[in-house]
Amino acid sequence: MQSELMTLTGVSHSFYTVEGETTAIQNLDLTVYEGEFLAIVGPSGCGKTTVLSLMMGLISPTAGSVRVFRKGLRLGYMLQRDHLLDHRTVEKNVLLGLEVQHRLTEESKARAFALLDKYGLGEFRSYKPQQLSGGMRQKVALIRTLALEPDLLLLDEPFSALDYQTRLNLSDEVYRIIRSEHKSAILVTHDISEAVSMADRVAVFSARPARLKELVDIGFSAALTPLERRAQPEFHDYFDRIWKELKP
């Protein structure tokens, strides 16, 4: 068995407004293992993003506990939109996180720039974000996250703002990057095909308040890229299984 990175035990979370109370998550148990790619799918608005916010420590659970198994576990968060800063060049955007965390050294800088080179953005280093396509921008955002050398990546619907073709290509590329950098990752998405094509395990959430309905092990070899996985005959079986689980 792989070693555990993080465990949620009996986690519930509610949001309060003047109008009332919304329970986003109820009594959720979930474990993330080292080196795995876990996808979370569920109907939109079911509290998937809340799970990532809880893991990231941006919010605290109303009940239950979030347990981290390794001291100093570094988390990297990738948002739905790239949020690149328009007044910074690509390379300055990539260094933003390092700057914020006072970890900007010659070494960390070189590593970040090496990532840009390695994933085909080297020649765009001095460009402004406005000059890049949506897919390239999202890749810059991923490298901004990777520059912080996270052990666990939290991906919050990172492809949903892109057109379909860009989406397929980029998910292939992100998959390759995450695998070759040996990262663990959690992908939140409402797109079943995306989850099946990228993940080792898929956690299916119910409608709000989110509970864990089912954990589906995806048995593809890690060597297959997301696009290749989509062409496998078993792909549709996984898809159908999750589709049925998602039905209310």
Partner: protein
């Protein structure tokens, strides 16, 4: 795709763009010359009384006379100094207040209705009070220029800051940024365009404040000349001062617009 060699159709297009630009510039000059010509002609042919409406030649003669007796530069210098001071102080103070209100959202909520009222209030209504409080001198006029530009700067800049914050705050939180880092790395750079549009608004506002201030209390300046000219029925003097004012205000506006272009690049 960018081609270095220009196709025939592209050349035609470029010629048309240049021709349109020329037509616009020439028409602008024609409008000005036509206006001046009709004004002068009307005065010469007594369509109206040039004593009341003056004429371009009388305006020029008046400006030359002011220049010869040495008072032109005194009046221009006085008004310009007051306006630049009012503009700079108003902008700097206004921007600083915007930073403070961004930093303390609770304070912003508390003061919001007051800011709305101050923004709606015609600041020049405070003129007579300022003279009593500060005294009948240049200080009152400068404070007037400050007041008129301050509130509009605060409101514009604060809105820019808040818009930038909404967008990127989540990102900065996921990176673990402090409030100070968020301000200097995201909010301030994103707020620069708003700061510049505030400059463009407040440069005009400062002129309003200063001229009204001079109407109320002054011994020199273009506003003083206009009031004085009106009182002793020297309409030539009024028109000459307004003309000079037009030129100065335009120059200052274009200076700010030039600065904007510099900053944007």
């Amino acid at each position: 795709m960018k081609h270095t060699a220009i196709s025939e159709a592209h050349a035609v297009f470029l010629r048309r763009v240049r021709r349109d630009a020329r037509i616009v510039v020439l028409s602008r000059i024609a409008v000005l010359l036509g206006f001046l010509f009709l004004w002068e002609l009307g005065a010469d042919l007594k369509w109206f009384d040039p004593f009341i409406l003056s004429s371009p030649s009388r305006v020029i003669r008046t400006i030359v006379r002011l220049y010869q007796d040495g008072s032109l530069w005194l009046h221009i210098g006085t008004t310009l100094l007051e306006t630049v001071l009012g503009f700079l102080l108003g902008t700097v103070l206004g921007a600083l207040i915007a930073v403070l209100l961004w930093w303390l959202p609770k304070l912003n909520r508390i003061l919001d209705p007051y800011l709305v009222v101050l923004n709606a209030l015609p600041k020049i209504a405070l003129g007579p009070v300022l003279i009593v409080w500060i005294g009948a001198g240049m200080a009152s006029i400068v404070v007037m220029g400050v007041l008129v530009s301050l509130v509009v700067t605060t409101v514009t800049v604060l809105n820019g800051f808040l818009a930038a914050t909404d967008e990127k705050q989540l990102l900065m939180r996921t990176l673990g940024a402090t409030k100070l880092q968020t301000f200097f790395m995201v909010v301030l750079p994103a707020g620069v365009p708003d700061l510049i549009s505030a400059l463009k608004i407040s440069v005009g506002m400062s002129w309003v404040g200063v001229i009204v201030g001079e109407y109320l209390v002054s011994k020199a300046g273009l506003g003083y000349l206009i009031v004085y000219g009106g009182q002793v029925f020297k309409l030539d003097l009024v028109m000459a001062s307004v003309t000079v004012l037009c030129i100065l205000a335009a120059l200052m506006y274009y200076a700010v617009a030039f600065l904007e272009k510099k900053v944007r690049n």
